[in-house]
Symmetry: C2
Subunit: 641 residues, 2 copies
């Protein structure tokens, strides 16, 4: 047995990005936090390779091994070659008579090597390398495929190059440890999800069609022309209709790692295709789905990322908006929005007065700890500007610097008077050096403004190196949303807050017919560190209620959904489910900035693929076959095939 | 412990189609052939249900249970209701005071029931029902959702109705045991595949894009318009390019249960989207991939379908054509094509003479056992007609009836003379009552004709109730295909026999440049019971060879594949893989006629979905957004939204 310190060095490769160590564990050890390798590697089964590069240790000394990998670098005038595969590095000792030949092998060439594992001479061990005690004395070495010498960027050092260039040569970037780690952990995590659902809980994985018919409402769906003139498929934004139809069909527990499509044009960090962990169950309540998802994540979370433990905290939409000014609170940040209307009202500063005159108006406050100490005036201006961009002039935002002598750097301090000021400081636990931000306005508008200040000022402080958010994964359920909202485009009428198949809260079913704007829904969102990573609901299973909601409340044309309405009428069980956004969840789990870091072949802005240069022009005869013609072509005729 | 006979009745539901018993086993028992249920059901976790309907037995007597399911039928004037879920049926004893209410519940309504499990009175047990010893004495019963009374077809009895009607109401048809069984077994089988690949052999499951760029050559690919005028994605026919790029990227073992797309218009029993078990490995030979696939199938095959055991037999393309007249021989049928040119030549009947004058011509023969006894003259004519449709008049086909006195019912018998006739009968082991079919022509044309006779006459005999084929799953590898074939459309030049990324046989690399039509490939097909269920190859990893094949041999424009050629030049390991057609494999495993029986929501002919009525018209403003206009619209303007 190796000593503990040695165990910790096993399997570690440093991320070239962040210099953190990355764990590459075999699938059979996925749930283990112990980094020691299994005795029998399975990564070389069905191959002439006997071992992976990174797994050789003192225990292999004396063995003849056959390895393959990429030439990482030459050492000491060609006396050594360092060979790399996904799992690690190994030093090859080149026999003198071969150096002349091998020293000209280009970097990143693919080699096949046979040799004997031996201890490095005393003093030549490399503690920073997992295989640093040993080397392979080469007997045979050959280039399986040489690499050209003018690669667009170096794989070994990963000099920061533009994203478009990296994704254009994604096959090179994928060799970097952080991407290898992301793809492998994603695969293992999804396998663990499947194991819990299919193997332990009798869920049936069903593949549902992606060539389908448009679902009314919702995001823009890509269309696919067919040979029938004027007839198109749509690529669905989720398997929502199919999973409900499966429930009607008696497949009482369904899941799918489902490819979904949304044509969102140029939104940053959105992909035109993305992946959902999609599931649905019959004969369940909201509590059942919530409990299942908690168990699912507890059981599937990778050991190396620490433990996830339910039950997760719950919050109603109303609570989330009231306390955090946001429906997906980042609970890593303890700061809350606090109402001070009662304290301020009697000596209300004139600047707030007009904002309090309408019903439902209030003054809210937020303490930004050490905000005065660490934020510049320019940053305070930026905060005000972004609140203005979000809520306009319907909110009066007043940041107040609490000076070292606890006086306030704003006229409102004097206007409020000493006792009110001190009551406010007590209520918000304000100390010298804090920034105190007031917001006055109607409904949740002041909360929304302060919610933005809360997140942005935390980002600003963290960018300066201060720790503001707690570590770890902070899951949260948000529920009891409104079922309908006023239309976002301002036109009269209501639209679904989530989607038209969401069931009303059981106590509010009557209100659907009398006061739909007051109806609460059975929708629930799963939030992780301030990102919505999942959403689900109990669905409408009553065809009359569903038809009323579609036709009368939402004023939708039902003809495109007759098949679903008929299904609800044909023995549909009560059911509900959820969809988790796998790309976003993986990105948060791995702590990456962008979901592009957890997708093998992502697209960049506006859905462009720099690698294949998709989308591209198609031949005239193909357009003819599909009975379409192009219009609005740019000058070059779009012929850039 | 229950007695063996009782064990056998557990979990059995009869298929309404074929009257065979269907096994519904829990996932944790997938590999077991023992049909006894696990003690703890996991099919009701995270739900208010305490049990599934089909799992109640004597061991539950005295327990209070809560069930949900569909109302299968009423018995004895409402005294009983039989309740159904996917797993089975249970009899509910309705208390007298509730009969008046419950007897009007419509069939297929969804019920929730609480009651006590009790033994049926002696003599009232039902041996044909897995829960036939017990019943549930109802305490509470309610309708969760009533079913309408005019369903388009009965779920209980499944009167044969037209496929379009069944698929239009697929949510009803899915309740039938054979479809439940197919979807659940498919899910379990795929889970087992994943387990072997990801968990036991370190394969990485990677999701590759489906919005991509056209691959030159191959099947017609659906196109997807984008907001950029004239720019389209293509839906790929396989992840071929991506999996090769992953190998270049050092993801040395990849797999994916991949959705693939092919616009094949109206071909019967083809789906516009289908599923492949797609995998690729670096540093492997053909033998490695073959061995892996054999182990994969051995380990994943469901216990209830018997054992699969490698190594599977191998055959070259040349052997398959020579012996079976077909590159995907059905080895359930022992009959082989036998050459008789040597026997016939000296006394060649005039009818064959002109067909033997060209080089490479031959006379082949096939014995159809008992063909004279059981096939009508009309059927013999049908055989001749279909051979004519396949190979035209370039083959002379002569069926000969071998009479009960072993004389031949054809002039060729006399022309050949007694000794030749007897030599032929000896070589083909012909007996009285057999049909002997001769075919003369060039190359593999006579084999192809007899290959067709072989399969069709077997089908005819089996349709009459004779057993011709052996039982079981007969796997076969076919390899050593030609790398290139003359163009199928008859124009000059060569095309890839499979795809342009297939590597030549190592011994034939030189011939690529000198005599490409003679090059053998490293492609291999996996055949099961006469269907090609998989195909793969070792790929070209040398960029110069790949460019030569594309540009010079195939005369393709390389510009659409520059990214792949550059990748091969950037340190690409030798690699190979395979793709298995999951839909076809499941259909053969389950013995169904059509792949539509193993797909939850299949499309019917010409890609039409009777359920949602996709494909459908799209709104003018959506076409404008995508910068396309319709042409060739039919009279009704295609506005049938």
């Amino acid at each position: 047995m190796a000593a503990p310190m040695r165990i910790c060095r096993r399997y570690l490769i440093q991320c070239l990005h962040c210099r953190k160590n990355l764990n590459f564990i075999s699938s059979s050890r996925y749930f283990s936090t112990d980094q020691e390798q299994d005795s029998a590697s399975t990564g070389t089964s069905f191959s002439y390779r006997t071992h992976l590069c990174g797994e050789l240790t003192r225990s292999h000394v004396g063995q003849t091994v056959r390895l393959s990998g990429w030439l990482q670098y030459h050492r000491l005038s060609g006396a050594f070659i360092v060979l790399r595969d996904w799992q690690g590095l190994i030093q090859l000792l080149i026999p003198q008579h071969k150096v002349e030949e091998t020293q000209n092998f280009p970097l990143e060439s693919v080699l096949e090597v046979t040799g004997d594992v031996q201890l490095r001479p005393p003093g030549q061990e490399n503690e920073s390398m997992s295989t640093g005690d040993v080397e392979v004395a080469v007997k045979d070495i050959k280039v399986l495929n040489p690499c050209k010498t003018n690669l667009p960027f170096e794989v070994r050092t990963f000099n920061k190059v533009k994203e478009n260039l990296r994704i254009k040569h994604r096959y090179l970037e994928l060799r970097l440890p952080h991407l290898q780690h992301a793809l492998r952990l994603r695969s293992q995590f999804v396998m663990a999800l499947r194991n819990f659902l299919a193997h332990e809980n009798e869920f049936v994985e069903v593949e549902t069609p992606t060539l389908f018919r448009r679902t009314p409402g919702g995001a823009r769906e890509f269309i696919v022309p067919t040979h029938s003139p004027g007839k198109f498929y749509s690529l669905p934004q989720s398997p929502q209709q199919f999973k409900q139809l499966l429930m009607v069909g008696g497949v009482d527990r369904y899941f799918q790692i489902a490819r979904c499509y949304r044509d969102e044009g140029s939104k940053p960090d959105r992909q035109p295709e993305f992946t959902q962990v999609d599931l649905e169950m019959s004969f369940v309540s909201q509590e059942d789905v919530v409990l299942l998802v908690e168990r699912l994540l507890e059981r599937s979370w990778p050991g190396e990322k620490g433990e996830v433990k339910g039950p997760f905290p719950h919050m109603t939409y109303h609570q989330a908006m009231t306390k955090y000014g946001c429906d997906k609170p980042d609970l890593r940040l303890p700061w809350q929005v606090v109402e001070v209307t009662d304290l301020v009202r009697d000596s209300c500063p004139p600047v707030f007065q007009p904002y309090l005159e309408t019903p439902g108006a209030s003054i809210q406050a937020l303490r930004v700890k050490d905000g005065v100490k660490h934020l510049s005036n320019k940053q305070l201006d930026a905060l005000k500007q972004s609140v203005f961009e979000k809520v306009g002039d319907s909110v009066k935002l007043v940041p107040v610097k609490v000076r070292s002598d606890e006086t306030w750097g704003s006229g409102v301090g004097q206007q409020l008077g000493d006792s009110v000021r001190s009551a406010i400081q007590d209520r918000l636990d304000v100390a010298a050096g804090d920034l105190l931000v007031f917001a006055a306005g109607q409904g949740f508008l002041p909360h929304t403004g302060l919610g933005l200040v809360r997140l942005q000022s935390a980002d600003m402080l963290e960018a300066k190196g201060f720790t503001v958010r707690e570590d770890g994964f902070h899951f949260l359920w948000v529920d009891t949303f409104p079922l309908f909202l006023p239309k976002e485009d301002g036109s009269p009428g209501l639209e679904s807050a989530h989607h038209p198949f969401t069931a009303p809260h059981p106590e509010d079913v009557g209100l659907v017919y009398t006061a739909p704007e007051q109806v609460r829904s059975q929708h629930y969102d799963l939030v992780l560190n301030g990102s919505e990573i999942g959403g689900g609901s109990i669905r409408v299973h009553d065809s009359h209620l569903q038809r009323y909601i579609l036709q009368t409340v939402l004023q939708e044309n039902c003809s495109e959904l007759e098949h679903l309405l008929e299904a609800l009428d044909s023995g549909c069980p009560p059911h509900g489910g959820i969809a988790l956004g796998l790309d976003r969840l993986m990105a948060i789990m791995l702590g990456t900035d962008s979901i592009r870091d957890v997708i093998a072949f992502p697209k960049v802005s506006e859905g462009h693929d720099p690698l294949s240069r998709a989308p591209a022009a198609v031949a005239e005869k193909d357009l003819d076959y599909y009975n379409i013609h192009l219009v609005n072509l740019p000058e070059d005729g779009g012929s850039g095939v």
